[in-house]
């Protein structure tokens, strides 16, 4: 029997995988992939809770998260394009002009 906890744990695991990516990736684009994973992991949780409680709010939330994720991609890509035009790389290590 698959319970809510199963979904939540799955969500947690996926979220953590996303975190691995966020912590690990040095390429901005790939880093952006990882943030998508984060959001999607949560979406599973929302959908699952929604199902188990018989409540639509969770699906709503998930829906908005998708919207947000899409917007973020747009802005993120825009920023990356500008950066890439300037520096020709998307490596995080190229962005260290400010520190201390």
């Amino acid at each position: 029997m698959i319970t809510l906890s199963h979904y939540l744990i799955l969500s947690a695991i996926l979220f953590s995988i996303g975190l691995v990516g966020v912590y690990r990736r040095k390429n901005l684009l790939l880093l952006l992939f990882s943030t998508e994973i984060l959001l999607n992991a949560v979406n599973i949780g929302f959908a699952a809770i929604s199902k188990f409680y018989g409540d639509l709010t969770g699906q709503m939330f998930a829906f908005f998260i998708v919207a947000v994720a899409a917007s973020e991609v747009a802005v993120g890509l825009g920023l990356m394009i500008v950066w890439y035009k300037r520096r020709g790389t998307l490596d995080i290590d190229s962005m260290q002009s400010m520190h201390g």
């Binding site: 906890s5 947690a12 695991i13 996926l14 975190l19 790939l30 998508e36 699906q59 998708v66």
Partner: protein, 184 residues
């Protein structure tokens, strides 16, 4: 039973796919894996009776977002292997592993509550998209509209940032224009 099999199968695939996404050195693999993972997730949505969400997931993610990423990858020329200088990889896994562990510990305990009541219950016999539509255009109309504004913002942002005008800085490059026209 079907649910369990589907859950474990999808879980395994999703986890595998996402692992590839975060670990792979090849950007193309990573993106493909991400797309695959997204589709798996939409599978979960269908499994969870969230049909509308599943469709949205496929359309928005696999359709729009992935397309964007693909264009981006072509633009950035990262179709081949990416070189990443990953420092202290152990720390990464320690941090995420610990987080995962703690989250799992927290979620293993079943949630007990007698006070939960569904505000927008799923009604038997009503199609999911219909129900969603009703809620979305009543209760969540405002967030929906705000989301529209957000998308507008994202669109404007994307256009300006990627646009040609950003290529040259007025302030930095043209000394004559440094003085505001007619201001002084």
């Amino acid at each position: 039973m079907f649910e369990a099999i589907a859950f474990y199968l999808f879980s395994a695939v999703t986890i595998a796919m996402f692992t590839i996404t975060v670990m792979s050195k090849n950007a193309l693999y990573a993106m493909s894996a991400l797309a695959a993972g997204m589709i798996m997730i939409s599978g979960f949505f269908f499994l969870l009776d969230a049909d509308f969400l599943g469709v949205v997931q496929i359309i928005v993610y696999t359709g729009a977002v992935m397309a964007l990423y693909a264009f981006g990858m072509m633009f950035f020329d990262t179709t081949r292997e990416v070189k990443e200088n990953i420092r202290a990889p152990k720390l990464v896994f320690l941090l995420s592993g610990m987080t995962a562990l703690l989250l799992v510990i927290a979620f293993v305990a079943p949630i007990v509550s007698d006070h939960i009541e569904a505000l927008y219950p799923m009604v038997e016999g009503v199609q999911n998209p219909q129900a969603v539509g009703v809620v979305l255009f009543t209760k969540y109309l405002v967030p929906f509209e705000v989301a529209a504004v957000m998308l507008l913002v994202a669109m404007i942002a994307g256009i300006i940032l990627a646009g040609k005008k950003m290529d040259e800085s007025l302030t930095l490059k043209i000394d004559d224009e440094f003085q505001e026209k007619g201001a002084q």
